[in-house]
Subunit: 186 residues, 2 copies
Amino acid sequence: MTKRDELIQTAFTLFYMNGVHSVGINQILAEAGIAKKTLYSHFASKDALLEAVIAYRDERFQAWLFGLMNSTSSPPEMIAAMFQGLDDWFNDRVNTLMPFQGCFFVKVNGEFFQHRVNELCHAHKQAILDYTQMRLSETYSDERAAQLANQIVLLKEGAIAQAYLGHDHNAAKLAGGMALALLPTP
Amino acid sequence: MTKRDELIQTAFTLFYMNGVHSVGINQILAEAGIAKKTLYSHFASKDALLEAVIAYRDERFQAWLFGLMNSTSSPPEMIAAMFQGLDDWFNDRVNTLMPFQGCFFVKVNGEFFQHRVNELCHAHKQAILDYTQMRLSETYSDERAAQLANQIVLLKEGAIAQAYLGHDHNAAKLAGGMALALLPTP
DNA sequence: ACAGAGGTAGACCAATCTGTCTACCATTTA
DNA sequence: TAAATGGTAGACAGATTGGTCTACCTCTGT
């Protein structure tokens, strides 16, 4: 793994736990065991590092979630896979994601205002909505798929929020049950 | 309004928009037009000010939400009032709350780790869950009321998240529809 | 053999942060 | 009238921040 990747991973872990503004460059460097000059040869600024961290997490999270959803062939299966995945994530049974600390993008987004990272965080959420809707439109009309996707994504966000700040580690199961109930009875 | 309250209000507005760590004491003082010594005669530290801000927002938010829910006499009415209130909030039709910028407690909570403010933010969410469950247990069994309350609160959190980071200003209507569908058909 | 790339360690700079302090002012109360 | 209270303005201290820079080291490719 390159120094660049080590920096991104270390920065992600620290940002995810403590927030972006609470974590200094020097702390990241000390934790990663990397020199300051190396960081600034790879990234122009802390902001640039943060953008790379966001892109890294976005890629990892999408690969994980879409991987689960992709290997299903009907809406009920897909929804079950999605919320089963969330349940695994909340209860730290997913190796590729870090120990659950809520949604990274929600956290980061909350620390900035009218800033480029707000757009990046929104884009992550939009990508998940778009993928879900695309998959549902294989079965339902565009209009129906759009409504269902919005409902499912809303339940997913609610589950993450309740699992984190609500300390409810069954939130994914609860949300998954509601999501399945949205589908027409077969 | 006392200087103490002015400080709390100004600090809240800035924290809510920009995050806690991005906003300095001097910025709050300049915005409020208050001297630094006055701040430190009322609060021991920035952390103490933040705790007062959290308590202030908690009180305001509960007064608003429980006010809406309290003047209803059946679960369907109560849920309708709750999500109608959220819809008003998301679309800036509530004077007593500030212009919608997501959930203050979710934002603040994300900036700290193993800190007292995490407990305070959780307590706010717990209070809303408890009130909802208490009201539902007037109609349903304790077990049923507990499950329903968890579902409703999850929908509420999902709606807030989708309204803010998802840019979906209809999230409250969508969530409200799902919440009403949870109740047994009359 | 040697040039160049990529790394380390850390001194350093300017800015900013929280928090303390002095000096002074205005109002209220005994 | 005198004391106490609560305020303003802002200098100041000490720590910390993001970012630059020098000096040196260690590979690798030609």
